[in-house]
Symmetry: none
Subunit: 241 residues, 2 copies
Amino acid sequence: MTDLAARKTPLWQAIASALTEDIAEGRYREGDKLPTEAQLAERFGVNRHTVRAALAQLVDAGLVRTRRGAGAFVTARPTDYPIGRRVRFHRNLLAAGRTPDKRVLTAGEQVSTPYIAERLRIAPDAAVCYYHGLSLADGRPVALFESHFPAQRFPALAEVLRRTASVTAALAEYGVTDYTRAATRLSARAADATQALQLELKEGDPLLFSEGINVDSDGRPVEFGQTWFAGERITLTLGED
Amino acid sequence: MTDLAARKTPLWQAIASALTEDIAEGRYREGDKLPTEAQLAERFGVNRHTVRAALAQLVDAGLVRTRRGAGAFVTARPTDYPIGRRVRFHRNLLAAGRTPDKRVLTAGEQVSTPYIAERLRIAPDAAVCYYHGLSLADGRPVALFESHFPAQRFPALAEVLRRTASVTAALAEYGVTDYTRAATRLSARAADATQALQLELKEGDPLLFSEGINVDSDGRPVEFGQTWFAGERITLTLGED
DNA sequence: CGAAACTAGACAACTAGACATATCCTGCCA
DNA sequence: TGGCAGGATATGTCTAGTTGTCTAGTTTCG
């Protein structure tokens, strides 16, 4: 029931609570697309901008996520208050590669850059295998990662990575059964437009940036990895868990 | 100065500069074929048309040439692209506790908060000594810190801290000659107005936030410290270098 | 009056899908 | 061996629809 008693509360607030109720009662479920702003405007008999004010409140409350050109979607986890739930999901920095779920965005071979070559201790123009993707926890993106491997030592690694979706398993196929983190550097960065899109943040939001080198038991670099964590959504813990 | 807070970059522009950087750094060399529009769309998480807008700019800039049915090929490198924006700030590397110079802002005693008391393993309303200041390197502020100590164990510590300006030296006067880091948690936060002022940043700039507990040789907590690093200005390094 | 709420319209940015057209590759056949 | 047909891919173009942002004007109420 959407009663138009516009006496007391602003229209946009009434619309917001009507939509909230729709979501709470399951008329729109997780991941569902809401009607377009124009349709909602017609349904409630108001201007589109009034609907937008209501939607903005839902976005602010974390109930809904909007994507320009696509629509407004009910957020997968309605109750996601970052405080309280302890994210102990990267037990330490070394585990930057092992996550409950990950999506590989690209993988392939490329000529190295001087910077990467220096880290991997290979020739400046040698080929590297790259591996770029998104880590998720509970279905929500928490980090973007980009790894580089010496292609000469690991031929056709990209394909193996796509197949196994695990760095550890992929390297094991080349006889690298154990590797450890040699150096890690941490800083904070602002998210650019594309990072924000993929991590479901706003441009300029703080990211925890990690850069590290993994070496095999002989001390030779096998991986150079960069990771951008959604700063507010993740906490890295060092030392004891 | 020139840019307003929270200016929005169009996605296609962000993608265009990401690709320009890839070319500038030699990830794609002259004559190389770029990934297909569909692959790039997947990589950046956008629609193909958005990628096309980015590619159109590269074509316009003369960096890339496209051939229908074949792909997009690199024709030249950007002439005036500021290289090294990626990761080129091996400024001062500091370990997680020691800094070249520091300025004490406040120091004193107060009643603990439940959160801090839990970390220090003291009674919820016990007194704590706090110690709040600014770390500098080369005369520039790099971090804000705020430390808490159990006041009962270290009476009049605040005065000692002001005098010695060194946590290690101050604790040594109480017989604590050695302490180690028990746990550290890291995340990224946006600077608020006061933090921005003290760190000479803009409000909303990314900060690297560190929270840690130091324990003595018996494992008893002696310090609970929080540090906010100026994210773009500082790199934390872990492990050997 | 002045602020908040709402309407109205226009344009930019992005998504979605369909279709045309050029190129590449592979297998078949002479 | 060489050539050709055809499928798979890739870019080019078009239409349509949706959200984001801006400016401007109107209404309502304290």
